[in-house]
């Protein structure tokens, strides 16, 4: 029971401990970690379950839009243009006679890909740089921070035009995958500094704390300090940023589409639909309403998910 080398004053005999053990279900408790605990907690939270289910549904729509809509995204019938929702077209027709429902369903894929991956890239890259800058401080911090300032100062539209047009000579028509990858990368390249600064600030605060000292005293390597000690304690603001950035990325994608450098036909995305609707939504509100609602629901799901995770990662809030 006890390590023979560690004969402590507390070495209790089996009879005494039997009581303690009986308090547990059976045998010693399995050690859990923050993440394990978080997961256990999450599974029991209705908001988490609902948001996860929603996200699953949206992912399913993105993967297999054909299951949800019998019409292809490109279906158009000018004769019905601008007609409101009906049994025939649940979300109505837009000004091009497109079936808004079909397009919304087919638009999920590009939007989700752009939103999720742009956010992931931004946040991963930004956080990494931020945590490094904050932890090392001094010259590393200066270099990385100033680099961030330069990128942050770069107006999004300028950067995006340059990046996207350099990769696609004007007039060419790149493949769908290429363009989505490029859109994701340009968003990430141009927005990482915010994530970086948020992470950096959190790191600056967290690294002063005694438990970091304690970890150093144990001989923990820098990556360990950063990932095991700092990260869980600095994650919350970045997580919040990320869930919102997801929505912002979908919006940014709309801007790019509007500029003619983002995703383009025949690919549909919610961003494209919203940007198409910009001039018409007063007269044909359903053009904006439905893709907008899908974006809202998606973002809501991710925000709720993020909140749930944040709560779960805060042992004190349990």
């Amino acid at each position: 029971m006890t390590d023979p080398n560690l004969v402590g004053g507390g070495g209790a005999d089996a009879a005494q401990l039997s009581h303690v053990d009986s308090s547990a279900d059976a045998g010693p408790k399995k050690p859990r970690s923050l993440w394990g605990d978080a997961w256990r907690q999450l599974r029991r939270k209705p908001t988490f379950v609902i948001s996860a289910l929603l996200i699953l549904l949206i992912v399913l729509i993105a993967i297999a839009p054909g299951l949800f809509s019998h019409r292809p995204a490109g279906y158009s019938d000018l004769a019905h243009a601008n007609e409101g929702p009906s049994a025939d077209a649940w979300f109505g027709y837009d000004n091009q006679g497109y079936d808004v429902y079909a397009r919304t369903i087919y638009g999920a894929r590009a939007s989700l890909l752009v939103g999720v991956f742009a956010t992931l890239l931004t946040v991963l890259f930004g956080s990494l740089i931020g945590i490094v800058a904050g932890y090392y401080g001094r010259i590393v911090d200066s270099l990385l921070s100033r680099l961030g300032d330069i990128f942050a100062g770069l107006p999004f539209v300028l950067g995006a035009i340059v990046i996207l047009t350099t990769f696609n000579a004007p007039g060419t028509n790149p493949g769908q995958v290429t363009i989505i990858v490029q859109v994701v990368c340009s968003i990430a390249v141009l927005t990482w500094p915010v994530a970086m600064r948020i992470m950096r600030s959190a790191t600056l605060v967290a690294k002063q704390l005694d438990y970091v000292k304690a970890a150093r005293a144990l001989g923990a390597s820098t990556p360990r300090i950063v990932f095991r000690h700092l990260l869980p304690n600095t994650l919350a603001p970045v997580l919040v940023y990320a869930t919102i950035a997801l929505g912002a990325a979908i919006g940014a994608e709309a801007t790019l589409a509007y500029l003619g450098i983002g995703v383009r036909p025949p690919v549909v995305s919610w961003g494209v639909m919203i940007s198409d609707a910009r001039d018409y939504f007063r007269a044909v509100p359903h053009m904006l309403l439905f893709p907008g609602a899908f974006v809202t629901i998606t973002v809501l799901a991710f925000v709720m998910l993020g909140d749930g995770i944040r709560d779960a990662l805060d042992p004190k809030s349990r």
Binding site: L158, R197, L300
Partner: protein
């Protein structure tokens, strides 16, 4: 600390050169030549193109162009646009307007965002929290152009509270509605960041102490809790001023505000490096200053943070 500030100010110099060069190179790299769209459906006369090319040093290589630009910049000449307007003057008129707009936006998002964040962070789950959650999500998912146009139509056209466009030199009052439109996304960020931060800190021991001292709630929250929670929010707000200034294109367009966003956009369309570089340099300077201020504020807000 003075040394720190000085060092940071010194860092402005390489960043200035880095940025100007980067932007210069980027504008230079934007494909398409500046004169292809100048003559409608026709190609422009070669003589015109030649003259402009010479005047704007467009045939020199990138570095020569850049140094010529810097040279004139240091002699106080910001360059000219293709239509003969002085970039310096245009920036001088637009800059204060955009700055004003961005400040209004930051102020609005800070006030509303912080309030919403604090309230929801303290109360935790409940009606208010859900309300803020849903409304912020709306703000997040609606692109600025929609928010701006909706505000313009509803407040301007339908209710007649504001004018659809602002005057040439808009006052702070006129900029409130554009500011709301511009700051709406960031407001969502601020609200949620504050909420998280507050939720994170509200169980801290020192909060207990403050309560145990019998401090009124307003002080416990407004002073003890907020100061400890405000750092991530402040970080965001700090970077946001610059972002708002550069990102005001849509809002400025909708409310017909003669600001930097429009300047950049037109400069970009016409491939006028002078305009774009000029404006972006200013924006980067704003960023640098803001991040310096924010970094200094960190040290004020949290004395444990040391720079040396």
């Amino acid at each position: 600390m003075i040394r720190y500030v000085l060092r940071r100010l010194l860092q402005l110099i390489p960043v200035f050169f880095g940025t100007t060069f980067l932007i210069y190179a980027l504008v230079w790299a934007v494909p398409g030549d500046p004169f292809s769209g100048k003559c409608g459906q026709q190609a422009c006369p070669q003589a015109y193109i030649d003259l402009m090319t010479e005047k704007f040093h467009l045939n020199d290589n990138l570095f020569v162009q850049y140094f010529k630009y810097l040279g004139s910049l240091f002699s106080g000449d910001w360059g000219e646009t293709f239509n003969g307007s002085s970039v310096g003057e245009m920036i001088a008129t637009s800059y204060p307007i955009t700055l004003r707009l961005a400040l209004v936006a930051v102020l609005i998002e800070a006030v509303i965002g912080l309030t919403a964040g604090v309230l929801t962070g303290l109360r935790g789950k409940g009606f208010l929290d859900n309300l803020v959650l849903v409304s912020t999500t709306f703000l997040i998912s609606l692109p600025v152009f929609v928010t701006a146009i909706v505000l313009q139509i509803v407040l301007g056209v339908n209710l007649g509270i504001i004018d659809a466009s602002v005057s040439d030199d808009p006052s702070f009052g006129e900029l409130i509605v554009p500011g709301i439109a511009l700051g709406s996304l960031s407001m969502a960020y601020v609200a949620r960041l504050t909420r998280t931060s507050i939720a994170e800190n509200r169980h801290a021991d020192y909060i207990r102490t403050a309560i145990a001292k019998g401090q009124p709630n307003s002080r416990v929250i407004g002073i003890h809790l907020l100061r400890n929670s405000v750092i991530p929010v402040l970080t965001f707000l700090g970077t946001d001023l610059g972002a708002l200034m550069g990102g005001a294109i849509v809002t400025e367009g909708v409310f017909n505000i003669n600001g930097l966003g429009g300047l950049i956009f037109r400069g970009l369309q016409n491939r006028e490096s002078a305009t774009v570089v000029g404006v972006v340099v200013l924006l980067v300077l704003v960023y640098l200053l803001m991040s310096l201020i924010v970094d200094l504020l960190y040290a004020v807000l949290d004395p444990r943070i040391r720079y040396d």
